[in-house]
Assembly symmetry: D2
Homo-oligomer: 339 residues x 4
Amino acid sequence: MANLRVGIVGLGRLGMRHAESVGLSIRGADLVAACSINPDEIARARSILPDTEFYDDYGNMIHRARLDAVIIVSSSGLHSTHIALAMEHGIHVFSEKPLGITISECHDAERAVMSHPELVFMVGFMRRFDPTYSDAKHKIDSGAIGTPFLVRAYGLDPDSLIEGALRFAPTSGGIFLDMMIHDIDLARWFLGREPLMVHAIGGTFKYPAFRESGDVDNATALMQFEDDRMAIFYTGRTAPHGYHIETEIVGTEGHIRIDGVPRKNRAVIYSKAGATEECVTGFPERFDEAFKLELQEFIDCIRENRKPGITVHDGTRATVIGYAATESLRERRPVYIEP
Amino acid sequence: MANLRVGIVGLGRLGMRHAESVGLSIRGADLVAACSINPDEIARARSILPDTEFYDDYGNMIHRARLDAVIIVSSSGLHSTHIALAMEHGIHVFSEKPLGITISECHDAERAVMSHPELVFMVGFMRRFDPTYSDAKHKIDSGAIGTPFLVRAYGLDPDSLIEGALRFAPTSGGIFLDMMIHDIDLARWFLGREPLMVHAIGGTFKYPAFRESGDVDNATALMQFEDDRMAIFYTGRTAPHGYHIETEIVGTEGHIRIDGVPRKNRAVIYSKAGATEECVTGFPERFDEAFKLELQEFIDCIRENRKPGITVHDGTRATVIGYAATESLRERRPVYIEP
Amino acid sequence: MANLRVGIVGLGRLGMRHAESVGLSIRGADLVAACSINPDEIARARSILPDTEFYDDYGNMIHRARLDAVIIVSSSGLHSTHIALAMEHGIHVFSEKPLGITISECHDAERAVMSHPELVFMVGFMRRFDPTYSDAKHKIDSGAIGTPFLVRAYGLDPDSLIEGALRFAPTSGGIFLDMMIHDIDLARWFLGREPLMVHAIGGTFKYPAFRESGDVDNATALMQFEDDRMAIFYTGRTAPHGYHIETEIVGTEGHIRIDGVPRKNRAVIYSKAGATEECVTGFPERFDEAFKLELQEFIDCIRENRKPGITVHDGTRATVIGYAATESLRERRPVYIEP
Amino acid sequence: MANLRVGIVGLGRLGMRHAESVGLSIRGADLVAACSINPDEIARARSILPDTEFYDDYGNMIHRARLDAVIIVSSSGLHSTHIALAMEHGIHVFSEKPLGITISECHDAERAVMSHPELVFMVGFMRRFDPTYSDAKHKIDSGAIGTPFLVRAYGLDPDSLIEGALRFAPTSGGIFLDMMIHDIDLARWFLGREPLMVHAIGGTFKYPAFRESGDVDNATALMQFEDDRMAIFYTGRTAPHGYHIETEIVGTEGHIRIDGVPRKNRAVIYSKAGATEECVTGFPERFDEAFKLELQEFIDCIRENRKPGITVHDGTRATVIGYAATESLRERRPVYIEP
């Protein structure tokens, strides 16, 4: 079977990472086309990916590049239309989260996907593909911790990246849609239940500027799921030590805790300060392997004619729940989530 | 200065621990009297503490034993009257938590204490005296983590002790007053603010029998404090691995996490299972030193004519907040806490 | 610049790993040829690497495949002649350790390499390319731990792989040449000095069968380096918990310890046993990334016309020292190492 | 049974610690007498122990104080004569290590003890009483790690205490007798075998002044025991991070590692540096509980008319082996140990 012809739209930081993965290390696929509206991004990408054709218009790429599959890393507000256009042309789609910046856009995307059951669609919740996370899921499914009833999730960005976060604040959708959405997906995945209620609180403890866009720099949330299952979240933008994604799943017979210390590597340094483990600096470092594994799974699904475990519905649900958390924070009350 | 004459009421598990501490290792105090309504408890205690006089009536002990100080470890419903009687007789008081099993009883205790400013009163939140906790507090007060804005607290009893918990369920006051009360005290202490709202949820995931007494076996709570500060709690009775009290204080410049792994000791065991650290089995093991240090501080305060950092108000507040959490769980809504 | 034409000889477990790396994820190189005397290995490899030409004779491959570079993973006794033949044909060489199974063979290899200074040669001490090890080296070189004066190195194979070790025992060269050689290389690298003396002891504590080939199942060694620097080694074949490569470098201002717990992933499992971290199962899992990074460095050195930091001399020295340790064990005395 | 009348000789740092333990927290004993030739030490001790009689002459104390037991913390050169004098007067003896500063003195002490089988004698290898160490021993004796065949022992003093070490260097007996002696005792205890050979090396990497007294600031040693069992030691005076006593026992079915990180307490601090655990600062902090438990065991043995698990022979052996290590370092060769 010949390699799949893959295109990508969006060549920012995450886009370039995906482009390089497909171009260099994903089996069964060639990156034949890439699209960006930013000439600088194209110039940079061209030097790294000499065999790829470049486009400055997504429609052009879809019409001309004879793609089998496309990877959508464009700005969030374009995801749903980009998804729909590709699918209309019979192209398999991998889209970064979120599916849209309004719930209505998410539903648009969901409708596009549902009307093309013959195509593979996958949304970029890469954490599910991290080896530790997928091993934990496997253990839980095989009963290793009994009935899972609680998820605790930390999603902390390093303080060192705060300038980008401040710049991005007005259009980020807020801390829940921008960051907690990944943790929401994990909680649904690990608990195997849908949330019914969310109560979120937060504040600006270090960067009051977030208030201007109605956002906070640190937030927590309580979430009630079906069958009384529960989740507690802490999402923040000011972690002094690095990028700290920690997830604990509590069951009746055991807990699994992932990344209580988000270690950069395998060293302990003994110095005057004590015994120190350095921490990961950001998502590209932490989820490097997961980013590759999710794309490999996308390609493999297409080649093996099967559907991924993660669906468009997972993408919509995480967004709907993220909106509910945002509403809870703003209205200072619990919000009940539409089923 | 002669040793203080100390009495104790209540010779159950915790009572005997306190009695032995005063009898054997607390400096500046002698255990001259002990009271229990249970003849078996008295017989056992007499064999260990041969120089102590025993009473089966608290009033008798207070009137006759010429005490400087009394340690109250009687059943919770008697705390407030025992406190009041001792103070009326000019006796310094250390009382286990809670101050009462109704808020009204707590206020009775508070009034008794407030009307005797010349006496030392201390409530038994021993965790504050654990060396790791007191060192953390010292670091925070000296600015080591910037502004503390979030506390995450786990308070998990081992599944191995579930039978006692089930037996005790009808009179325990529920999981928040029985267990989370210690975590509530820690959150107030570390954040230096009062909570305004609590939202608690929970369920019975392993032992449905807790439902009969309106209780749960695992619960979580979200708490909003003044100045937007926050706390998230997880309290449970089914921890497979042991007694797990974990507290993390998050500040703008650092986090301090205590007991992410509640290690029994300093060993790692490498075996087919991997690398394993054994966990502590219960509060007597975990807080052994704290129990002694809090009593030593009580005795030292009396001898040095100063007041402890922990007040009767701390005892009342933790109970009031614990009631609010209980109400939140039962009524399935956030509860706003009276100031 | 066109991709380099790379061949490989040896398609056993490690050979296939290298073949797949070059075939699928190394930038700047194509795996155009592969050689094995084992038809089953060729059949298996062909299914995974459809674009590669296969040979059953190394000379044929060297003469016909127009290679820029070759990767030698043949049996150890063939390394030196395979190295020499390739270099005579102007082909860059990456060779697995050891360079030979006698010191004389090592010197043959060294002579071949020295007489072709225009070619890149690299020996497969992959640990130097592991991200944690290379970061440690960088820290040490920049003075982070002052003067490094002691290396402690564990090299433990899992008991679960003992059957292979027993089968391989008669031809393995013994525990020092087979296993400790990697640790010897690390000690030289981190200390920046040559060893002067080695004293090795050992025994068969679990598998007496190793005695038949004059080998042991567990051994330790003391090594004295120039300037009084020191190393202590523990090498074993019976680790119950997995593959445990641990290295600590002690300096006057700090220690760096790598893999005190050889964690499989980022999870801690809390269960009745306590808090457990699973361990890595073998070198393919532990050094997966290092194997790729060393090959990438080999290819990059060729393309960028520079020499790797690791030399043929490093390969010879580690073997010479491994022989000295073997002699020490057998003769029950310290052995002074030829400079 | 009345409390034992206990005396102590030597009121330096460790002496005062023992004096306070007996005076305040050991059950079944009263500290009735204390002796020091240093008037300042007596003055300080008197303020803390008002009920104790003080002597400036050991003979006087032995003759007049009607002691049941004596604790010897005098300078090492006096241990053997102090032991002998006490035992001649029918007094049970606890002596700090070493039993003497020459092997001949050790044998004098051993003879004194052997000729008084009716008396309890104990030597102060307190580590055996540390809860983690005694639990490890218990596990090993019950077969938890199969056959123990290797001990690795670190004994590192903090660099922060180097001034005292430099001052004490001329009379310390050298790094093996001063420090490694504890690790030697642990190795014999855990392996259950006697060492046959020791090979020690070392150097002065940070403080050349140690050379003046023929000593080193860091040393390692290889030790061969009966039945091929092994130990490797690292002893140093320049640990940047604190007091680091680490012991690993390797068996055919498991390892037990104690204090891979010598944690000060139960906190992890997340900061810009990463995740840090503070380390213990010295032996008084690390072995506080062990010091009390060993004295309690001494008193309990006397009261219960039984012999401690640790014998005078253990004290002599550790010293003999320490001398052998010293000889090995100086003569740059392995030394075979007299049985």
